[in-house]
């Protein structure tokens, strides 16, 4: 039974109902420059600006720190070190291992050591450069393999096993082993990290933070100043991009701003310069992946042994759940009967890596897709056929290695459709002919599927709250625990409310995320924003609507079943009132027009200690075919054509979902091509600005880009209007770009090249990675 209150789910009777491609609610503000981001908020009188002094060493004891020159610099009002923190010196979200200001020892180059507040941004930043810090260097672990060898981990290593992988490997007709390293990724949200803290009476704080998780900022900032959660309010209207980079990282920024406000009694703002942002805050984990796979003549995997070693950096941050997700997703679309997965969460003296769209899932999927590609090259078959031979089955071969049954499998369907629409087979032939006739330019093509589990794997986070007010003129104020980072969450939630109350979208105001309106909200993450908050808002709307129905039935003396909300009006027996008229009447009749709403995801149930159960409510699916051309003289390449078919369930907003699919794909393509994080031998990040860290630009968008939302999509689970989460899954469609490049490179060598069994692979970004062709 569908959750909708109206019998016909497809008739949209109000403007901006669920399913309508309404533009982003802030689009007119974005284009006119009127959308207010944290740094745009009118500055309060006496505002101080903060700059942070950062460590220049990867691992060192602070032998001495002389801040006299900083204090004496023009405009400086206050200087603060770890010793000046009245409460907890921690901004780590789960484990208290993330100091706000380094307490005597620095553990990465770029770590915050002290903060200075001055009257202008320029004064603060200039002053911060005057510090004299002497370090006694300590041995630094700078890469994951060194960490594994040294036994340096932020969290214990974990293992998932099913079947008997060693036996299956020993018995398999074919066996390949290899190691591949996979780079990290900077979020490069266009709006850098920023927070402004305002002292309130009685030592309280009000903090504007650019954050995906206002609640975390609230709790961490309160603890830092030695107060309680009730004493701090955090607000965020919107972020200028986040992508996971503002899930846990904003706590550091907001804590520094809050501590300085607490110390000076003045409003204080910290906005990081781009270079400082990139040096100081975490990124996508880079990985080293070892694999040992046994398979039959068709390429079907009989046994596989994976080792994932990720660079977590100096603290745990969210690395536990991220690496768990890597383990969950190293099957991607494939049934692994006998599997052993070892996951090392490596502690390195580099910035603590964090959430990034896909949350470890992309790296797990990269592992298996790379293995599948190796198998295909070894067997001399099209990788698509090897993929198909390994797909999860329907009714058989349908239980994941963590024990969840795949109930909604549409892999073969979605892949067949995109194989057809992309003309995959004909193009593969045509490409082979092209490559045979061209020395310098070579083309390549690849199809990769996506199956991505939706829900926070930490089950308790799958809950959400909302707060809805109806005003006497029939307009609505909706608030929920989710945050807006550009993904269109506010728009979608407003559509849910419009649909539920049957009033036009423009009668609904969706307001800034605010810890004093909805408490204890989870981070807006794991693609869950509209699933959770849409349901919570729907629940709030239903509560008010139920009261209105009851009131109308009593007032007009009709059965409740005869009170019907449709198209901005309410039919009450033979009476028709506008929504506003009924609301006004209800107010006059002393009916509460405000409600909270609450939702928790059903069915999920998962035991972290055994990695078994149902961590995911459902799976989101997609498939992509990418084609590239490379120049074998230089390794330069172009992405020439992309065909995507993606499953959004029954889309809440096809325009917004399309934006997520396209944007996620291009972002993933950037990760696997031009975006390369480099460190020098001392552990200093050398790519910390757009001049050196290259995200895709307009001309990188393929000339031929065919993206479709699966029209038949409908979530078999009872999600909000049967939609599916879409934030993260499309990013992993970009694995097809990497494998198309590998396909093109392979065409320069003999059959079976690049040789998988040779051992080391290197998923290097950029042209250089493609430039390993034998000539």
């Amino acid at each position: 039974m569908d959750a909708r209150s109206r019998p016909d789910a497809d008739v949209r009777t109000v403007a901006g109902a669920a399913g309508a491609p309404v533009p982003h609610d802030s689009s007119h503000l974005h284009v006119s420059g009127e959308a207010t981001y944290t740094d745009d908020i009118v500055e309060p009188r006496g505002l101080l600006h903060i700059a942070v002094g950062m460590s220049s060493k990867a691992h060192a004891r602070i032998a001495s720190i002389d801040l006299d020159a900083v204090r004496r610099a023009p405009g400086v009002v206050a200087v603060m070190t770890a010793d000046d923190i009245p409460g907890d010196n921690n901004c780590g979200p789960i484990i208290a291992d993330d100091p706000i200001l380094a307490p005597g020892v620095v553990q990465y180059s770029g770590q915050a050591v002290f903060a200075v507040a001055a009257h202008t941004v320029g004064q603060a930043r200039r002053a911060a450069r005057l510090a004299r810090v002497e370090y006694e260097e300590l041995p630094a672990v700078l890469d994951p393999i060194a960490a594994v060898e040294a036994g340096s981990f932020v969290l214990p290593s974990e293992t998932i096993e099913r079947g008997d992988a060693p036996a299956a490997l020993a018995d398999a007709p074919h066996r390949l082993q290899g190691r591949v390293s996979l780079g990290g990724q900077d979020h490069f949200y266009l709006e850098g990290q920023v927070a402004m803290a305002l002292p309130r009476e009685d030592g309280d704080l009000f903090i504007y933070s650019s954050t995906q998780h206002p609640g975390d900022v609230q709790h961490r900032a309160a603890a830092a100043i030695g107060k309680r959660s009730k004493d701090v309010v955090v607000e965020c209207r919107r972020m200028g991009g986040a992508f996971g980079g503002k899930e846990s990282q904003p706590a550091l920024i907001a804590c520094i701003a809050g501590l300085m406000a607490n110390r000076t009694g003045k409003p204080c703002k910290l906005r990081l310069d781009r270079d400082d942002d990139m040096k100081m805050t975490g990124k996508r984990h880079d990985f080293v992946i070892d694999y040992d796979v046994g398979f039959d003549n068709s390429g079907r995997i009989e046994g596989i042994d994976f080792m994932f070693a990720s660079r977590c950096g100096m603290s745990a941050d969210l690395s536990g759940a991220i690496n768990d997700r890597t383990m969950f997703h190293c099957d991607n679309a494939y049934y692994l009967a006998n599997v052993r997965i070892v996951s090392h969460r490596c502690k390195t003296h580099t910035v603590s890596n964090t959430a990034f769209r896909g949350f470890g899932g992309p790296q797990g999927m990269f592992g298996i897709e790379y293995v599948i590609d190796d198998i295909a090259r070894y067997l001399g078959t099209d990788a698509l056929e090897v993929r198909r031979a390994n797909f999860y089955g329907i009714g058989e071969r349908d239980v994941t290695h963590y024990g969840q049954k795949v109930e909604d499998n549409i892999l073969e369907d979605i892949c067949s459709r995109v194989v057809e629409s992309a003309g995959y087979h004909a193009r593969r032939d045509e490409i082979a002919a092209f490559n045979a006739g061209n020395d310098t330019l070579k083309r390549g093509i690849a199809l990769t599927p996506v199956k991505f589990g939706i829900s926070f794997t930490a089950t308790h986070l799958n809950q959400a709250g909302a707060l809805l007010h109806v005003y006497t003129d029939g307009t609505v104020h909706i608030n929920h625990g989710g945050t807006e980072m550009g993904q269109g969450l506010f728009t979608k939630v407003a559509q849910v409310v419009a649909d539920e109350l049957q009033i036009d979208f423009d009668r609904i105001k969706i307001t800034a995320s605010d810890t004093s309106k909805v408490p204890n909200a989870s981070a807006t993450a794991a693609s869950s924003g509209s699933d959770l908050n849409g349901k919570a808002a729907q629940a709030a709307a239903r509560t008010v609507k139920t009261r209105l129905v009851r009131f109308a039935a009593e007032h007009f003396k009709v059965p409740e079943a005869e009170v019907v909300f449709a198209n901005n009006t309410v039919q009450i027996g033979n009476e028709t009132l506008s929504f506003a008229e009924l609301v006004h009447l209800a107010w006059f009749g002393r009916i509460s027009l405000s409600s909270t709403g609450y939702y928790r995801t059903p069915k999920i149930n998962y035991d972290r200690s055994t990695f078994s159960g149902r961590p995911f409510y459902y799976f989101a699916y997609g498939a992509a075919v990418s084609e590239v051309v490379i120049d074998t003289l230089t390794g330069e390449y172009r992405l020439t054509r992309v065909d995507i078919l993606h499953d959004c369930g029954k889309s809440l907003n096809p325009a917004i979902d399309m934006g997520q699919i396209e944007g996620g794909f291009i972002q993933g393509a950037g990760w696997l091509t031009t975006e390369e994080l480099c460190w020098d031998a001392d552990g200093n990040l050398t790519t910390h600005a757009p001049s050196t860290y290259k995200i895709p630009v307009s001309s990188d968008m393929p000339l031929d880009f065919r993206v479709q939302i699966l029209e038949s999509g409908r979530n078999r689970e009872e999600t909000i209007f049967r939609s599916k989460a879409v934030g993260e899954p499309p990013l992993m469609l970009s694995l097809s770009v990497f494998l198309a490049l590998r396909d093109a490179v392979a065409s320069t060598g003999p059959a079976g090249w690049p040789p998988a069994a040779a051992g080391a692979g290197d998923a290097r970004s950029g042209a250089e990675g493609n430039h390993r062709c034998p000539r």
């Binding site: 982003h24 802030s26 689009s27 007119h28 503000l29 974005h30 284009v31 006119s32 420059g33 009127e34 981001y37 740094d39 202008t120 200039r126 450069r129 979020h187 490069f188 949200y189 266009l190 709006e191 850098g192 919107r238 972020m239 200028g240 991009g241 992508f243 781009r274 310098t440 330019l441 550009g486 269109g488 003289l633 230089t634 390794g635 330069e636 020439t640 325009a655 396209e662 944007g663 996620g664 794909f665 291009i666 031009t674 390369e676 600005a689 757009p690 001049s691 050196t692 290259k694 895709p696 630009v697 307009s698 001309s699 990188d700 968008m701 000339l703 031929d704 993206v707 250089e768 430039h771």
Partner: protein, 513 residues
Amino acid sequence: MTASTDIAPGVVRFVLDGRTVDVPDPDPTRTVLQYLREDLGRTGTKEGCAEGDCGACTVAVAEPDADGRLRVRAINSCIQFLPTLDGKELITVESLRGSDGTLHPVQQAMADCHGSQCGFCTPGFVMSLFALYKQQENPDRTAIDDAIAGNLCRCTGYRPIIEAAVEMYRQEPRGGSWLLQPAAASQQELSADESKRLDAQAAIRRNESLALTNGNRRYFAPRTGAELADLYARYPDAVLLAGGTDVGLWVTKHYAEIETVIYTGSVAGLKVMQATDSHLEIGAAVTYTDAMPLLLHHFPTMSELLRRFASPPIRNAGTLGGNVANGSPIGDSMPALLALDAVLLLRSASESREMRLDEFYLDYQENALRPGEFIEQIKIPRLHADDQLQSYKVSKRFDQDISAVCGAYRLRLGDDNRIDDVRIAYGGLAAIPKRARACERALAGREFAEAIIVEAMAALDDDFEPITDMRASEDYRRRICKNLLLRFYRETSASLDGKPPVRIYDYGRQKQA
């Protein structure tokens, strides 16, 4: 319209939204972005990187062109110093919306096409698209990509923005504002609004040089070469500011406190360019955007390199003279200028002299300029009818990136397919942009054949000791510099056979009109 003569030398004066803005003696290195956001509270324009690489800060500047019409150029406000606005009209994202709240066609198209998600990059895109709207009609995909090459969007994947760039011409502009008239209007009669804007600029055009004092800091915008030479003699430690696309970063990234700035952009003599029978003569303060048509006309094979040179806002500000004087080992114009045997005209208060570019660079960020001496003009010999010229740039990303390796090749073939004359130069391989003399020697006088080329490729190891950095490894640089020479050979021999080469950059893409 005659210029006003009573403008105080110590006041920066520009036009914003129809009003004249006076800023008395500002900090000379205060950026336009800082001024907008911090002083005026106009926060629509964003800071994304403070180095001119992301485009969130894009604004537009309008000035009269040679025909007396208003010409729009997008610039990066984050690295543009406020005093350089003197005498111009500044247009920001807030300027575009009509007084009745109507969105500009560019803005409306961006909203209609779902061109914004988080919205933070959007004002910058709107301004780059606005500049395109005022410059071109019906741009194709390549022209659109070029127009927004300096703008990063992390959310959309660009497809809806590219669509908006097409859709904006289909919007019905309402009202008579010059801002609303697309490029085609510049072919039509002057509108009342355009006239008014031209008059407003004429009214603030000064005859005397701008000279600012702010504490111990000074800013001069001399108007003649002689004045510039005198000022530079008086302040030999002054920083010469041309486009500011590098000097801006000294301030925004390294917090440099520059005492004396001398701006070259008002020196009429430095903004002249012409083609003589033997040379192209390009004044040192001519922007890349202004120089491009002339360069493309004479060196059409340089089109890819010129299109990939930085981004439109950087090319609109940056100058050929600045690039040469800066002498970065990874500057993209020097290899080609070296291959072309360019000569610099140097000037100081006491003398003028000529110097070959290949003698100009001494070591990393060291050149042969004497105190008080500046580059006045770059003289580029015209190509011989038989000259083959190419320049290739290899970078992680095609657009708006810095070269890992940039190579330039000029070759003249004589009878018997012999190499009569050859120049090869590279950027990215040494501390300075440098000729590959060993490689040139391996080719001079020999047959233009693959076997010879392969020998010359090996000779590049004698010319360069490249390093590993974040742009490329030493090994990659060594291999690429050789392979680019091979590419030059393959492309040249193909084109001599009448076969146009297919370049990876253009693969599957429309040629630029």
